[in-house]
C-alpha cells in the first residue's frame, strides 16, 4: 500500500548568506526527507524561503528535525521553522 504524504512546511527567514538552501537541503537528504516544492523571495531586505517537504520516510522524528533545523539556523544566523502543513492548509483553503 502506498504511504500517504506527511507534509511539513520549512521556512527560513533572515539575512541572505551563501549556502542557506544547500545546508537545509543537505540535512533533509541525509534524513530521507523529500522536498516537494521550494520558493524564495526577499521581503524588506530579508531572505525568505519556504519549502514543502514530505517526512513520510524520514529517519528522524518531527521533534528531532525541528531541533536540528533550529540548530542549523542558529549556525547560519537565520531563523528556521518547521511546522506541519495542516495549519496553513486549514487557514487558507476552504
Amino acid at each position: 500500500m502506498e504511504q500517504t504524504a506527511d507534509k511539513v512546511i520549512i521556512t527560513v527567514v533572515g539575512k541572505d548568506v551563501v549556502g542557506i538552501i544547500a545546508k537545509v537541503c543537505l540535512y533533509l537528504s541525509e534524513n530521507q526527507i523529500n522536498v516537494l516544492d521550494i520558493s524564495q523571495t526577499t521581503i524588506s531586505g530579508f531572505f525568505n524561503m519556504m519549502m514543502i517537504a514530505d517526512m513520510n520516510r524520514s529517519t528522524k522524528s518531527f521533534m528531532e528535525c525541528q531541533k536540528d533545523l533550529d540548530a542549523i539556523g542558529e549556525e547560519i544566523g537565520v531563523s528556521i521553522r518547521c511546522q506541519r502543513e495542516e495549519i496553513f492548509e486549514k487557514m487558507h483553503r476552504i
Binding site: 512546511i9 521556512t11 516537494l36 516544492d37 520558493s39 524564495q40 523571495t41 521581503i43 525568505n48 524561503m49 519556504m50 514543502i52 518531527f62 521533534m63 525541528q66 521553522r81 511546522q83 506541519r84 502543513e85 495542516e86 495549519i87 496553513f88 492548509e89 486549514k90 487557514m91 487558507h92 476552504i94
Partner: protein, 454 residues
C-alpha cells in the same frame, strides 16, 4: 499547494499580531463521583480529573510545537460542584474541601485554571446551591486555580433576585478576604444569565449536565489579527469592512478547529465546540478596543461604539461559523477592561463609563468584565448592577455576565494591578444613588413574555 505568501501571512499573525489559541479546555463530568461520604467524594473527584486530564499539558505542548501556534492556557471545567456535592456537604466548609480537591487535581495535571465551582440557580436555590454560594469566599481565598460561577437568571426562568441579592454580599466578602491583594480573588468569580454549558473561558467555564462524560472545547483569540487586517482597509465602505472581518475571523477560527480536532484525537476525547470569541490581552495590539478605534472611533466609548461593536461581533460570528461546524460557548467579542490596553486607555481618558459598557454588553458576547469599582460600594448597589446585566441577557435571549472587582480600600482615581494576562485597571465610578428597596424585595422576576414559545 500552499504558497510562500500564505505561509508568511500565517506566521506573521502568530509572531507579530498575537494570534494564539487562548485555551484548550477539557470538560469533565463528575456525576459518576457523587457519594454521600465527603472523603470518598473528594477521592473520586481527584482520581477522575487526574485520570481524564493526565495528558492535557503534554498534548497541548505537542500541538504547539508541531503547528507553531501558541496555546496559552490548559484548563479544565467540571460539572457544577453544587450538584456533585449536594449529597455529601452539610456546611459551606464541606464544600470548601471540594474546591481544595479541584485545586490539587488541576495542579497535578498542569492545568492553569479549573472551572465549575458553580451553582445553577436561575429559578431557585437548593440547600446545596446556597451552601456552595456561601462557601465561595472561603473556597476562592483558599485555592489558586479554582474558578467559580453562578447562573442567576435565564430567558426561560426569569431572574432569581434572592440569589442576585446574596451574590452582592458574597462578592464583597470575597473582596474583603483578599483585600491585602487588591481584592484579586474577585477575578475568579462571575455571575451569568443564560450561562452556556460548553464555555471554555474562565472564570465562567463549567461542564454542563447536558454534556457527555468528557469533551474538548477550544477558545481561539486574535484581536490583533483583526486590527491589522482592518488597518489595510481604512476609509473603505462598510461592505469592505465587514468582508475583511469575516475573512479574518474565518482564518482565526480554522486554527482553533484544527487544534480542537488534533487535541481530541490525541487525548481520545470527543471534540465539543470552538468558541469564536475575540479575547484580548494587555499585550500591545491585542485589544478589542483598538479594533473599535480602527473601525473609526477616537476611543472605545465614543458615540458609535455600540454600533461598531455590534458590527464586529456579528461579522466575527459570520466568518467563524463557516470555519467550524460546531461553534459554541460565548463566541463573540470580549470587552474586559483590565485585560485590554485600549479599554484601559479609554477609561483613563474618560471616554468610557460603566453605563456605556453596560450598553455595549447588549451587543457583544459576554458582559461587564474585569471592572474594578470602589471598595466602599454597597452590596445592594452591586446586586443592582448585576440585576441590570441579568435583565439585558434575559430579555435579549443572550448570555450576559458580570465580573466586578470591588477593591477594598481603594476608590476612583486609584489603579489596581492584577498581574500577567489579567493586566491592570483604573477604578471606575459607580452610580451613587440607592436601589436598596428594589434589591431587598424577596422572590424572583418572572420570565419575559417572549420566552413562552411552546
Amino acid at each position: 499547494m500552499i504558497n510562500i505568501w500564505e505561509v508568511n501571512e500565517t506566521n506573521k499573525m502568530v509572531e507579530q499580531e498575537n494570534l494564539d489559541v487562548r485555551t484548550i479546555t477539557i470538560g469533565i463530568s463528575l456525576l459518576e463521583c457523587i457519594d454521600s461520604d465527603l472523603t470518598k467524594l473528594n477521592e473520586k473527584i481527584y482520581r477522575r480529573i487526574t485520570t481524564v486530564a493526565k495528558d492535557l499539558a503534554q498534548t497541548a505542548e505537542k500541538i504547539e510545537n508541531e503547528y507553531g501556534i501558541p496555546i496559552v492556557n490548559k484548563r479544565i471545567s467540571v460539572t457544577p460542584a453544587a450538584i456533585i456535592g449536594g449529597a455529601a456537604c452539610r456546611t459551606p466548609e464541606d464544600f470548601v474541601t471540594i474546591a481544595q480537591t479541584l485545586d490539587r487535581a488541576a495542579e497535578a495535571v498542569g492545568a492553569n485554571l479549573i472551572g465549575g465551582y458553580s451553582a445553577l440557580v436561575s429559578k431557585g436555590m437548593t440547600q446545596a446551591d446556597e451552601l456552595l454560594i456561601r462557601s465561595i469566599p472561603l473556597a476562592l481565598t483558599g485555592t489558586q486555580r479554582v474558578c467559580s460561577s453562578v447562573n442567576l437568571a435565564s430567558t426561560k426562568t426569569g431572574i432569581n433576585m434572592d440569589a442576585v441579592r446574596l451574590m452582592g454580599e458574597i462578592l464583597l466578602e470575597v473582596a474583603e478576604r483578599s483585600k491585602d491583594r487588591d481584592s484579586v480573588d474577585c477575578m475568579k468569580l462571575v455571575v451569568f444569565c443564560n450561562a452556556p454549558d460548553d464555555n471554555p473561558f474562565m472564570a465562567g467555564a463549567f461542564h454542563g449536565v447536558t454534556e457527555a462524560d468528557a469533551v474538548i472545547n477550544v477558545g481561539v483569540s486574535g484581536p490583533g489579527v483583526v486590527k491589522t487586517a482592518l488597518g489595510a482597509v481604512r476609509g473603505e465602505s462598510f461592505e469592505v469592512l465587514c468582508e475583511t472581518i469575516k475573512k479574518t475571523a474565518f482564518k482565526v477560527t480554522r486554527v482553533g478547529q484544527l487544534v480542537a480536532q488534533e487535541a481530541s484525537r490525541l487525548l481520545n476525547i470527543p471534540f465539543g465546540i470552538v468558541d469564536l470569541s475575540l479575547a484580548p490581552t494587555p499585550a500591545i495590539g491585542d485589544s478589542v478596543a483598538d479594533i473599535l478605534c480602527e473601525i473609526g472611533l477616537e476611543y472605545a466609548g465614543a458615540p458609535g461604539t455600540t454600533a461598531a461593536l455590534a458590527l464586529l461581533n456579528d461579522q466575527v460570528k459570520k466568518g467563524g461559523v463557516m470555519a467550524s461546524s460546531y461553534v459554541g460557548g460565548l463566541s463573540g467579542a470580549f470587552i474586559p477592561v483590565s485585560e485590554d490596553q485600549g479599554m484601559i486607555d479609554a477609561v483613563q481618558a474618560g471616554a468610557i463609563t460603566l453605563e456605556k459598557l453596560e450598553a455595549m454588553t447588549c451587543v457583544c458576547s459576554v458582559g461587564l468584565d474585569m471592572i474594578a469599582i470602589p471598595g466602599d460600594t454597597k452590596a445592594t448597589t452591586i446586586s443592582g448592577i448585576i440585576a441590570d446585566e441579568m435583565a439585558l441577557g434575559m430579555v435579549n435571549q443572550k448570555t450576559t455576565a458580570a465580573r466586578l472587582i470591588p477593591v477594598i480600600g481603594k476608590g476612583v482615581g486609584d489603579t489596581v494591578e492584577f498581574g500577567g494576562l489579567f493586566g491592570y485597571a483604573p477604578i471606575m465610578p459607580v452610580n451613587r444613588f440607592s436601589c436598596d428597596a428594589f434589591i431587598n424585595r424577596k422572590g424572583r422576576i418572572p420570565a419575559p413574555i417572549h420566552s413562552f414559545k411552546n
